[in-house]
Point group: C2
Chain length 199, copies 2
């Protein structure tokens, strides 16, 4: 006995394919869509097709964009000689929020992770090397996540960049602003000590 | 500065309208859709439109269906003289899973809830009364949730049904099978005691 209409079951299945969405949640979301007015359901469907159709990676920095060149790469007021390397598009947003960085970005779209079968060829390393090889780049700031894989990826890329006469730096490690020392792990504290600065 | 392409932002906004989906999750889901092959993204969009277009309520029992009459109401082997009243379509599934009930259903699409501004006119009570008034119904089993609102709704409907010479029953209260007594709340235990049966 099929309990739900086929088209409702199909929509539930589609939702349950999404990451982190289980069967119960998928059902709830499908019911929600049914409760929407026709035009809102259509708008949701259109947004999916539209995003998929319009969004591609910027040929320069590999960030997601719907323009030919992304707005950051296209911005003449930004320092073209410094490139900040991040793992994911959302990391660009995190960096931009700090309002501290005025250079360009390079989005790797992942980190090297042998356990997940992600090799250096699966992320946009080649594109970065080509950008640097073209010249005009003074410094590359590695800003991959401060975890094992982000670390390893940063090390790998910095080794490739070494012969290219470009300064390679890394975001400073230390205790997060506004955090409490008693909750900081020992590795973070020892890195913060190593990197201590005069005040 | 707009960090994301407009169409990606739009898709993220659409996801974040879904119940229980916050900003971060919406972003993750939008990225996931971008990572899908074109045909799968299209299939997702189609499923939304299709479900919205095909699914309606059964004119008899008010359950969701894409047929003219839902498969349960259309099934001649089921007992047409007993109607089980549930709050939501998913409750029909819960009942069917027990394989114990062979009558028909009536889906209220909600329960009376003054706090949420849901009155008896917002749920399908009228349709139930019309069904019973037509005759041929011997018993109505109230199977709304055993909480305050489900309870109140069941009481309200049973009062309306009383003059119609139909037996109105309610699912038994008691300790859930497979549960542990020490975790059962006192109201459940007192109801289980009241309803105790000879073995």
């Amino acid at each position: 006995m099929q309990y739900f209409p086929a088209s409702l079951q199909d929509l539930t299945d589609q939702f349950s394919k999404l990451p982190g969405i289980g069967g119960k949640t998928a059902q709830r979301l499908a019911f929600y869509v049914l409760s929407l007015p026709e035009n809102e359901a259509q708008a949701f469907a259109d947004a999916i097709v539209e995003a998929k159709r319009m969004v591609h990676t910027c040929p320069v920095c590999q960030n997601l964009t719907d323009k030919e060149i992304c707005p950051i790469c296209d911005d003449d007021t930004r320092d073209q000689s410094i490139i900040c390397v991040v793992a994911e598009p959302k990391d660009v947003i995190a960096m931009e929020r700090s309002r501290e960085f005025n250079g360009l970005y390079h989005v790797l779209h992942g980190v090297i992770s042998p356990l997940n079968h992600v090799t250096q060829d699966d992320i946009r390393v080649k594109e970065l090397l080509q950008r640097v090889a073209k010249g005009g780049v003074r410094e590359v700031v590695m800003a991959t996540n401060p975890d094992t894989e982000g670390e390893a990826t940063a090390m790998y890329i910095s080794r490739l960049l070494r012969p290219m006469e470009v300064k390679v730096t890394r975001l400073a490690y230390g205790v997060p602003v506004g955090s409490q020392l008693e909750y900081a792990d020992e590795v973070t504290i020892s890195r913060a000590l190593e990197g201590r600065q005069e005040i």
